[in-house]
Structures are given as C-alpha cells and as structure tokens.
Symmetry: C2
Subunit: 191 residues, 2 copies
C-alpha cells in the first residue's frame, strides 16, 4: 500500500553525499502540498523519510489517491519526459524529508550515469506494474475484499492514514468504508 524503493533511495543518497551534483535536501511539515496538480515545476523529488499521498482531484473537490509514497519513491519525474502539467498533487502525510534535483540535473544524470538511468527506468516500470492489478482488483471486488487485501499488506493502516484518505484510495465514500469495516468486524467477531 505504501510504496517504497530502497535501491533508489540508497543510490540517490550516495549521489547526494558525493557532492558532485546539485542535489538539495528539503524538509516539509505534515499536510504540506509539495506539488499541485495542473502546474509546472522544475524539480524531481526523492523521498528519504516520511510518507506522502499522491492524488488527483476533480472539479467537485473529490480526491482520488493514486499511491502512498514512502522511502525511495520519486515524484515530479513524469514531467521531465513529457513537458506538460502535473497530473497529481503530492502532499505530506507525516513530516517529510526529500532530496530534490532540477530537471536539467536529472537529465544530465540520466545521460551520464547508466546505473541511475536503469534505476529510473525500473522505477517507472514498477509504477506501471503496480497500478494495473490494483485498479482492476478495486473495480472487480466489493469494498470488503479490498479492505482485507489492505490489511494483509499493511495491518496498521487505520492508525497511520485517515479514514478519508483510505476511502479515497479505495475509491469509495467514507460512509461505504465504515459500513464495510463494520461488516468485517461482526464477521470476524463470530469466531
């Protein structure tokens, strides 16, 4: 549920401490919107500590959470390749530490550092791999099954992430989420 990329985080940290590139460390408090949908930015971020939510919001104010990003996950990179507006907002859920690098610095690394190039390529591929089954599962199964799935991969999710965010992640209303949670509890209480 909260995605991570240990290999990437350790490599980018190494690049950072080498001092050879213009990589900057930044900190944000929780609930801070680091990038906002439909804008342009000139930086790519790598999370080194904390959790963010990456979400799309529509004209009616509804949010749909794409992913929860944890250690080693990057954001802002898609806009390097297709020079368009951002499609997601990214907001910190906990206090956050990131390493950031400009588009030009990012491009330079991609061209000169083949290991870095490979790691980014793999990170992109993993984002695709991960999204596909998740959305298909959410479409095909009732809310309850989705919660069971979540509990499997991340048992303490209710403590870290608000109900609203969980609902927006599964793609249902908070009401429906509560209903499903209650159902689940009465079912498990039987045993």
């Amino acid at each position: 549920m909260i995605r991570t990329n240990p290999e990437l985080t350790s490599y980018v940290k190494k690049l950072f401490v080498s001092g050879l590139y213009e990589i900057v460390e930044e900190k944000f408090p929780s609930k801070h919107r680091i990038i906002e949908q439909d804008r342009r930015y000139n930086k790519v971020y790598f999370i080194t500590e904390g959790i963010t939510k990456c979400y799309i919001s529509d004209e009616n104010g509804r949010e749909f959470i794409q992913e929860f990003l944890g250690d080693g996950m990057e954001f802002g990179e898609l806009e390097v390749f297709s020079k368009k507006y951002t499609i997601c907002s990214v907001e910190s859920i906990t206090p956050l530490k990131v390493l950031s690098i400009s588009h030009s610095g990012f491009n330079e690394l991609l061209e000169t550092d083949s290991h870095f190039n490979r790691l980014i390529m793999k990170a992109l591929a993993d984002k695709i791999r991960y999204k596909a089954p998740r959305h298909s599962y959410q479409h095909s199964y009732p809310i309850e099954d989705n919660i069971i799935q979540l509990k499997k991969v991340f048992p303490e999710f209710t403590e870290v992430i608000s109900k609203r965010d969980i609902a927006n992640y599964i793609g249902v209303t908070v009401r429906s989420l509560n209903r499903a949670l209650k159902e689940l509890k009465t079912k498990t209480d039987l045993y």
Copy 2:
C-alpha cells in the same frame, strides 16, 4: 482510448530497416493471444499495424482491460526491468503486425542508443500519466459520463470494439453498459 506512439513506431521501423539489430517482423491474425498473463517471455514487441487489447483476467474469468494498444505502442517491456511474470495478456483485436526484439537486444539498444533510451523512458512515463486520470475518472463518475468521454476521443468505438471489451475497459458489466447506452440515446433523441 486507443493509444499510439508515432514517434516510437517510426524510430523502431528505422532501426529495423537498417538491419543493424536483430529486429524481426511478425504477423498475427485477429483474436490471437500474443502474450499471456503470469508467464515469462523473452521479447519486446512494437505494434506497427493493427489494434490489441491488453488485459488482466482474474480467477473468476473476469477481464479488466488496461489499454487498447495501437500503432507504435510497445508491450512486453516491463518484464525487461523487473524480471518477473507478465501481469497482462495481450490479444490482437484486428490482424496485427509487430516488430519484435529479444530482451538482450532491447537492453543493448537502451545502453548504446540514447535516443532510443529516451523514447522508451517517455513511453513508460506516458503510460503512467495516461492511466492515472482514467482510473480516477472511472471511479468517480457514472457509466454514462464515461461513455460520453469515450465518444469524444473515439466516436466510432462501438463499430471497432465489441461491447464486451468496452464494458471490460470501463470496468462494468455488459448489462450496465447497454443500459447506459440506451439512456444516452433517449436523452440525445430529445433534441
């Protein structure tokens, strides 16, 4: 709705005719399953003619269509980066022509041809960009709105693609799709 990538198709064709790489042209009839979910393959494919559907199927036989792939779209590439099983099946909807290349050949190109590298990177980024709003839209809006959206980008979709595939693409049953289509017609007939 049917994704394409003209830049990539023209570049891969150029590589093919140059004869410098082990790129092979293959043809398939319609309804042929070119790759199957949960298997291993050793090739990357680029579509040069025709349309395929890329879908996930679950244990109950339900299909969820991820994308319709047209000219220039690649598949089988994700497994180069994370050496795991395929997550999708890909099946031709029309007669199909592809150019295929082995994983090792693909890797070699990525390392030696920086233009190719960039095109693949962008193709991956675009797949992510494209998926995000689509799934969020489908979750948040009723079927009818989804159909209206489809008509906008691809007015003749009902002629090319079967009802079942369209339903599996939107993530609803055929019954619901028909209901929505009928509603839409009676509404537009009023004017």
